[in-house]
């Protein structure tokens, strides 16, 4: 297979084990590393030589797993320090192209940023995002964040007191650095608005923007904005 990659997954808990299984199913070569003997033995019954026993923050354990030829290292242990260290070493010492780290405690996110361990995934944040999405009066919902590219896509519900409802899209004076890309309307589904589209209360608007204008955009679509 042309896109067969070598991936090292650290931590054979529920996340790591299932991840390894899925990645193998997709045709990748995967090594899972686990430092708890019992967990290792359980997983080994299924993955056999695909799992190695050892503490992946010991450099020789990573080297034994062939880190120098890995296309990707994914650290999903239950310990943020371990995930940060393993990814930092993978990236800076072994020059692995792609790393992914799991954040267990969302308050540790700034540390991942500080050490350049990106991208990272936090289950808590993902669930919070779903909650935001499910509870529309939460205001602005992030659909996609690309911090490196300084771009994000957000969704916002236009409430009855939004200053922009009733306005033509062509007349909107959107904050610089933002662009209205789609409107979701009950009964009509989603569509790309034209200049003559008139926004209605109850519409959900999707916009692409520079993260720095997020507050401006929130105010623009929201009840306290200057939507004119």
């Amino acid at each position: 297979m042309a896109d067969r990659k070598y991936m090292i997954v650290i931590g054979a808990g529920k996340v790591g084990w299932n991840l390894a299984r899925e990645l193998i199913e997709k045709g990748n070569e995967v090594t899972l590393i686990e430092n708890n003997r019992d967990s290792y033995l359980t997983v080994e019954q299924e993955l056999e030589h695909g799992v190695q026993y050892g503490d992946a923050s010991e450099l020789w354990v990573l080297e034994r797993a062939g880190i120098s030829r890995a296309d990707m290292v994914i650290a999903v242990t239950g310990d943020d320090e371990d995930n940060m260290l393993i990814c930092q070493v993978a990236k800076e010492k072994y020059l692995v192209d792609r790393i992914i780290a799991r954040v267990n405690n969302p308050r540790n996110r700034p540390h991942f940023e500080l050490l350049g361990v990106r991208p990272y995934v936090s289950a808590t944040d993902l669930i919070l995002r779903v909650i935001e999405h499910e509870v529309p009066d939460y205001g602005l919902v992030h659909l996609l964040d690309l911090p490196e590219e300084r771009l994000e896509i957000i969704e916002m519900l236009l409430t009855d007191d939004s200053r922009v409802h009733g306005q033509r899209v062509g007349d909107l004076n959107m904050p610089a650095g933002s662009l209205l890309i789609s409107v979701l309307r009950e009964g009509e589904g989603g569509f790309v608005p034209g200049p003559d589209t008139v926004l209605e209360a109850g519409d959900e608007v999707l916009a692409v923007l520079d993260p720095s204008v997020e507050e401006d955009l929130k105010a623009f679509f929201g009840p306290d904005g200057n939507g004119s």
Partner: protein, 144 residues
Amino acid sequence: MFVVIVGCGRVGSTVARSMLREGHDVSCLDEDPEVHARLEVGLETSWEDAGGQFTVGTALETDALDAAGVEKADAFVASTNGDNTNIIIAQIAKRRYNVPTVVARILDPLRAEWYEKQGVKTICPTNFAIRMLEEELMGTAGDG
């Protein structure tokens, strides 16, 4: 000098007392409140009366580091029982708080060697033990 010591086991607490005795300001951070008693071993007074500061908290929590006064620290010692914790918090002290002197205790010689090269000042007790054992053994071998 104002020294913040994170992780007050045998090493951290002893260094904390010595620094205090030398007349420095010392602030200790440990997640275990019982560690306070260890700080007072051999002291006539309480740790606080002797001039020390003690904060209970997890080393990675910014709130705990702030409470311990890291932003004013002249020196920072990472001596918890976790190598990875020490490596990470030493980098946080250096990069986020700009502490001028940062030292991390790292038991694993391989990790210590690499991070030393990356500019993290490390102390590796394991290397001392290895060297001393080797010297003892080689010395014996030489005699026989």
